[in-house]
């Protein structure tokens, strides 16, 4: 069997960290595009690779052989190895498909609950009478901004306008689709899980910048975020501490967003330089190209074997 089929399964281990590093050098909007691509493409190619690994073994089943009009099973190695590989790959593929199905159902249920929570509000704004400061964008047609009275009271009028502008940016950009897509991609390969948090952060940053443009004041948006977070913190009992060393940074997402808006050098990685950034992005592009190319190569390879097994190829 061709080695090519293994490459898409290994590429995510390289592509995910590279994408995370590259995202730090890009504007929020570009970071979103890059991280999403770096999640979806390897998810697709690694799933395809698993399917390719399963096919030869499956061809020992008479039904599959009949379906492929095969005269004999695909012989790509010793039969026990081929069958064992097929069982393993097929098992993993089914397991992942199950995870994706569960996640899709859960997301739908969450959305339904959130829509019910927003009630029958006629306007864009759904206000919940609750002391705990909270606000989020509720996707739908039309999308809504859900906010508690606690949040409205914690902010000045101009800060409330900044909050609304931020949530409108989420709704207009259909950011929830990106989040869900990456979340589902992450279920397809364990290495892609590390992209969920960065893509969430990049989306928040993109909405922050859009809000800053809408209200015409970056400092105002920074202040709104900081005050909202501090008010929410004061109202909730306790927040679990994040494992900081693992993330390699000192501040959580909220301080980083505020610092980025204030142009305070807390959010910027210390080694920032344009050439280095280009290099990292280039490395990622190579990763993704190799992943895609080897997947295509593996498909062609398998196709060749199928034709041989069908007895069409007589030049053997």
């Amino acid at each position: 069997m061709s080695y090519a089929v293994w490459v898409p399964l290994l590429v995510p281990f390289l592509a995910a960290p590279t994408a995370r590093r590259a995202a730090a050098y890009l504007s929020p909007r570009h970071a979103v595009v890059l991280l999403t691509t770096a999640a979806l493409l390897p998810a697709a190619t690694s799933s395809a690779a698993l399917a390719l690994l399963a096919v030869p073994g499956a061809s020992y089943l008479p039904a599959v052989a009949a379906l492929g009009e095969l005269a004999r099973p695909l012989s790509l190695g010793p039969p026990p190895v081929t069958v064992a590989l097929a069982l393993a790959a097929g098992g993993v593929l089914a397991w992942r498909a199950g995870l994706v199905a569960v996640a899709v159902r859960r997301d739908r249920a969450d959305l339904r609950r959130a829509r019910a929570a927003a009630g029958g509000t006629a306007g864009e704004l759904a206000v919940l009478r609750q002391a705990r400061p909270d606000a989020y964008a509720l996707p739908g047609r039309p999308g809504r901004i859900v906010v508690t009275t606690g949040m409205l009271r914690a902010l000045e009028p101009d800060e409330r306008a900044a909050l609304f502008a931020h949530e409108r940016a989420h709704l207009r950009g259909r950011h929830h689709r990106v989040l869900v897509a990456v979340e589902l991609a992450a279920l397809c390969h364990p290495a892609l899980r590390t992209l969920c948090e960065p893509v969430g952060y990049a989306l928040e940053r993109a909405a922050d910048e859009a809000a800053a443009a809408a209200v015409g004041d970056r400092r105002l948006v920074a202040r709104a975020i900081a005050r909202a977070a501090l008010a929410a913190r004061a109202a909730s009992a306790s927040a679990p501490d994040r494992p900081r060393a693992a993330l390699g940074m000192n501040a959580g997402p909220v301080p980083r967003r505020v610092a980025a808006l204030l142009d305070t050098p807390l959010a910027v990685p210390s080694t920032t330089s344009r050439p280095a950034g280009r290099l990292v992005v280039a490395a990622l592009v190579i990763c993704l190209t190799v992943s895609g190319a080897t997947a295509v190569d593996a498909v062609e390879d398998l196709h060749g074997h199928v034709e041989m097994a069908q007895g069409q190829n007589l030049t053997r």
């Binding site: 969450d110 609750q130 989020y136 009028p157 409330r160 909405a207 913190r233």
Partner: protein, 133 residues
């Protein structure tokens, strides 16, 4: 404050601002008080028009106050179910795939960094309170 951007904003966005001001207030507000609480970024007539529209939709109720009305946001029966659903949602904070919250939770270190950022920001050019409109 956000002058100038007010006239370019859509009717829906202005309604959100006015409604938010009513919800943030402790009691009913007259158009004048709403205008004041918004920092004077909207004309009085605009505020009155928006309040009239919200009243037409049933989003706010009003009571007589002097020669005009004072407005208060409505919360009907669905509002109660809504609150229950919301506390249920709030329980699983980590499930953020569909709902992107404005701010995620802070831990101690985050709070410290945030306060120092805010202090540095408030220090030089912003008087405490900051309602200069």
């Amino acid at each position: 404050m956000g002058h100038g951007s007010a006239d370019r904003r859509s009717a829906g966005e202005l309604e959100a601002d006015v409604l938010a001001a009513l919800w943030a207030a402790e009691g009913p507000l007259t158009p004048g008080r709403v205008q004041e609480s918004l920092g004077g970024s909207l004309a009085r007539t605009t505020v009155t028009t928006i309040l009239g529209r919200l009243y037409g939709k049933g989003t706010v109720t009003r009571v007589r106050a002097g020669r005009g009305y004072a407005y208060t946001p409505t919360e009907d029966a669905p509002g109660l179910t809504a609150r229950r659903m919301h506390s249920e949602l709030a329980k699983d904070e980590d499930r953020r795939a569909v709902l992107a919250r404005f701010v995620s939770q802070l831990d101690d270190e985050d709070e410290r960094i945030l306060r120092s950022l805010l202090d540095a920001e408030d220090g030089p050019d912003r008087p405490a309170g900051g309602a200069a409109g």
